[in-house]
């Protein structure tokens, strides 16, 4: 199955700093939250999530998610990426460090002792653009 391409017309929105991620919980209730992300052409769209967070639990229960980005300069111009997720452990913080460097933050300083992180890769199944 060929990879779904991000349309060139809205590719710049993946240069923004913050996206929102919508997930569904095991009880059928959605969650939507702002988060940091990393996108590159080789690895695609990836997130670093602390395993104690609700969104991580939701993705474990239901591996489908929607990532949404609004153009900060024009809220009527948006990029919606719907997809399934692949979750892998990041016990060494190898990916968390890459993501943290984008934002000038050491993600270890955010996490509590004993907590761990995973790398979540979003595999797009549908992309919608507006504006």
């Amino acid at each position: 199955v060929p990879a779904i391409e991000i349309p060139a017309s809205h590719r710049d929105l993946l240069d923004t700093q913050v996206a929102v991620l919508a997930t569904n919980g095991a009880d059928g209730s959605p969650q939507v939250t702002a988060l940091w992300f990393l996108f590159d052409d080789d690895e695609g769209l990836r997130l670093s999530l602390n395993t104690v967070r609700q969104k991580t639990k939701n993705l474990t229960a239901n591996g489908n998610a929607t990532l949404f980005v609004i153009d900060p300069a024009n809220p009527y111009r948006t990029l919606e990426i719907r997809g399934s997720v692949e979750i892998k452990p990041d016990d060494t913080y190898a990916f968390a460090d890459r993501l943290g460097s984008k934002y000038g933050t050491d993600l270890r300083t955010i996490d509590q002792a004993g907590e761990s992180r995973v790398v979540v890769t979003i595999r797009p199944t549908r992309i919608n653009t507006y504006g």
């Binding site: 913050v18 929102v20 919508a22 997930t23 569904n24 009880d27 059928g28 209730s29 959605p30 969650q31 939507v32 939250t33 702002a34 988060l35 940091w36 239901n62 489908n64 998610a65 929607t66 949404f68 609004i70 809220p75 948006t78 919606e80 719907r82 955010i110």
Partner: protein
């Protein structure tokens, strides 16, 4: 934290919020909306044939997130949604509740069946400072 504080924080953060609903396929849908608080509920003006209206008819559980500011402050909210297309509700909300003119988006006015309102009765909210790194406060309905 009190609901009035959640209202004030959402108003401070942004006119815009994201609304997440659950699709018929069990997957999340998220769209940007421009809501307004009224009678301790969040109201959203929508097209009656929109995906979010269909989703809410099947599953009334929704979540919202007010767009973060530059510091990363934000508000997440969970609630139960209902859809209102009746004349009384439209007459009550059409003028003076939203911070934009509904007529600009619905020139046929409140009499048209093409538009309606979503009301979200909040059950729980979370106010985050700097993405939660600088603290978080919660509110729950009694």
């Amino acid at each position: 934290m009190e609901l009035d504080e959640i209202k004030a924080e959402t108003t401070r953060l942004s006119n815009w919020a994201h609304l997440a609903t659950v699709g018929a396929d069990g997957n999340p849908d998220v769209v940007p909306v421009w809501p307004a608080w009224h009678d301790d509920k969040v109201w959203i003006f929508v097209h009656a044939d929109s995906v979010k209206v269909r989703n809410i008819a099947a599953n009334p559980n929704v979540a919202m997130h007010w767009q973060v500011d530059e510091s990363g402050d934000g508000v997440e909210l969970w609630g139960t949604a209902t859809v209102h297309g009746d004349a009384e509700t439209k007459g009550r909300l059409w003028n003076g509740v939203f911070t934009y003119s509904l007529d600009d988006f619905a020139p046929d006015g409140p009499e048209s069946d093409a538009n309606c309102f979503i009301a979200v009765a909040p059950q729980r909210a979370l106010a985050l400072k700097q993405y939660g790194m600088a603290g978080r406060d919660t509110w729950r309905a009694a």
